[in-house]
Symmetry: C3
Subunit: 335 residues, 3 copies
């Protein structure tokens, strides 16, 4: 339990109303109770503000002026909400229990204060940093290095030799370091190219559930610091991703593509192989990127949603678009 005054003080932010108001956790505008603090960041939910029962609300200054309840005033209410939520969660303790039904290879180096779940495998020559929390059914193959304070959730596989920085979070079912899709076509069929590189993650990376990051073919697949990948993403071999770039779910990046820093890649995006995307590029959901992008900016490519009857007619015209445009040109010339 913290008072509104204490929360404001922790975050270095001003407040209005009753500073002695007691807050025990965070809640949504729609469902918070009087012991909870809520927030308004997305203007779509402004109409929920007047009826909220939250004990206090985090608001921008301009919105705060129109609200009569207790307010924590923040330039970016979503960031302030993140910080407040973390204050309450950080109070929870982590544990340092090694489950007896795990397998830790005698030649692995595991720090004293880690926790390891049931049926987890930590193989030879693995190094596990301090305070790492490793779930159930995790496979950490030989030679992997985990920095300090990593969280590896249940069912994760990290293949041989991959290196993670500090404070990385790997969600359930993710696979780090599987073979890239490297094939050469011989007369008899496909020849598999041995995949001998690794995956390197910087510090503070977060990898979503069931996401896959392939190892490099010879050199490595590299994610910088603070790269955040949502669930079900596929990162091909030898891809590089710059610091602070984030990707939403189900996006795929093909081999050897270089993505810059501070990019925002939407969900379901496809990025072909062997191209470069510069810093500060935003790609909207379900776009296909087929060429390098050399200038920062926002890009989009999905076709628009239509009623099926309209879609059928328009799609049929699209198939002949070049012909129609030629006709327009001819009509113009005849003028």
């Amino acid at each position: 339990m913290k008072t509104l005054y204490e929360l404001a003080d922790s975050l270095g932010l001003p407040f209005r109303g009753n500073g002695q108001c007691l807050i025990s956790s965070v809640g949504t505008l729609a469902h918070a109770e009087s012991s909870q603090i809520s927030f308004l960041a997305n203007p779509k939910y402004t109409n929920q503000l007047q009826n909220t029962r939250a004990g206090a609300v985090i608001l921008s200054e301009s919105v705060a002026d129109k609200f009569s309840g207790n307010v924590l005033i923040a330039p970016d209410p979503y960031v302030a909400f993140a910080k407040v939520a973390r204050l309450f969660v950080d109070a929870k303790q982590t544990n340092t229990y090694i489950h007896p039904q795990s397998f830790i290879h005698p030649e692995a180096q595991v720090a004293d204060d880690v926790s390891v779940g049931a049926f987890t495998v930590i193989d030879a020559d693995v190094i596990v940093g301090q305070r790492c929390q490793i779930g159930h059914h995790v496979t950490i193959e030989s030679g992997v290095v985990l920095g300090n304070d990593c969280v590896i959730k249940s069912g994760v596989t990290i293949e041989s030799g991959c290196k993670l920085g500090q404070r990385c979070i790997i969600h359930s079912g993710a696979v780090i370091g599987a073979d890239g899709f490297g094939l050469a076509r011989d007369e008899d069929g496909w020849l598999k190219i041995p995949q001998t590189g690794i995956v390197r993650l910087g510090n503070d990376c977060e990898i979503g559930a069931n996401t896959t990051i392939d190892c490099g073919t010879i050199d490595d697949t590299i994610l910088g610091n603070d790269v955040r990948l949502d669930n079900q993403i596929q990162i091909g071999h030898n891809v590089h991703i710059g610091d602070h770039t984030i990707m939403a779910g189900c996006t795929a990046v093909a081999g050897s593509t270089m993505i810059g820093r501070n990019c925002l890649i939407g969900g379901g995006v496809g990025i072909v192989g062997h191209i470069e995307i510069c810093d500060n590029v935003t790609i909207q959901a379900m776009s296909l990127v087929t060429h390098s992008i050399k200038e920062a900016g926002q890009f989009s490519g999905a076709a628009p949603l239509q009623k099926v009857a309209d879609w059928r007619k328009n799609a049929a015209r699209y198939r002949q678009l070049d012909q129609w445009v030629r006709k327009v040109n001819q009509l113009e010339k005849k003028k």
Copy 2:
């Protein structure tokens, strides 16, 4: 073994031909033997009817009139086939074996008649309902509740606190309750928003292999009754999905979106966050939904497939479509 007469009687449907014909299982028109019953539901396969060796076939009345073999007549042959197939499968017994190489926390409440596979983890305070069948390598984290008659296949992860209704089926590799993708951008980088909600599934939900459903950020992610998700689907935090809605493989729904009842969502569809889709909406494969849909109906959005040579020309024109339309308008005005 059942006679055609018995099958017809079980389903309350009429038959034609030899009621004493013995049926031991279901088969396809192309490959069924004389001891099997087959069906015709998709008109694409009508030409297979004349040559089938099936002992009997489930047909609609109009098709049955043109077929000389033994027939079970059904208003919807696919539904009748489902019911017949289930009659033969339900005859198989389920088991109640707890594998000795599993870990069941002493504070878990597991009903007497469940089965638990090898290396499965059932953590503290989990409640497992009657007759649940749990496979190998399953992780059920603390506080999870499984209703009666759930089937959890191998390698599934259900994270802390999630609640499943009765008769849910979770296929291999699915992850229920991983953290949502909640990040706020601070000056130094991304701040992770703690994800403290859970996932709630109603009764009779089926979740496909390697599908992921994120927990809610504060409130919960909620699937109603009889929601059916295919493989490789991603459901974001705080999504709601109404009763009887189904989704085909590789579809993704971003956070806080509300989807109604009886919707049919195709494969590879993307649905952005914070929108609402009403009841009885059909979305065709690989469409992107960027706005709320307030009226029932069928929607589509994928661009048409073309030969690459045509696609190049048409796609180039599409990039200047607005300019061409303006020219058409000018030509029209000059008339």
Copy 3:
């Protein structure tokens, strides 16, 4: 360590330069050292050739003429590189260790020279061929057959009865044989169709990390020989895929579709159910295939990427494309 002369001799290819040059492994043009052999296959990287420190480079004859260093001359440098890389990797030994914390059912038939990882389950009536390498946390359900020399990586699930040929490689987290998405709509809701078929893989198939291949509903799901699937792919029930066909990541094929031999399917492609694609078809990334393809060739369908401001205008025009084309037709008639 092998000399350039020995490598050339092994592959039956000519070389230029110092045949006594010692090579210990493969490297990229950018990062190879003098004890490594590199290659140039993608012309995008030609500019890296002049500065490489590689001890030798695999080049086509025409490129070799412009390079002064040691060269292995190959008609297809990528194929030659694959073969050279395999020479160095094949030198590594595989092991035949059965981890004591695994579960092998007494009624399974496991060849003597296989390796089985920790917490792996090999259930009743499974047959494991010679020299198979099975990782940690693998589930092989009852009745599965693995041919000789299969490699099953960690966390793979192979469900009951599936049959794999020889030399198949299944990457981490893949699920072979989960239930297909078969549902019939009854008045009360969805009726699950029992899925009683299996998955059959031919020889030399490779299945990517977290890829899912559903079992057949009645008949089987069948992949031919040398079919190569990248990560995160979804193959529906009763799909057939012909020999040597490959698919890049995140592609989905719906139920009962037949795909021919030697097809190249890009990433993020969607292929609807119940259609046929003939041999030698190439589908580019993120295309949707809605109809059968009866002629070999290259097809594409994704909408082009644009700056968001352009995309908004062009997409709006696309929604009325049929109307604009009608106007063009009217203008033409009035001429």
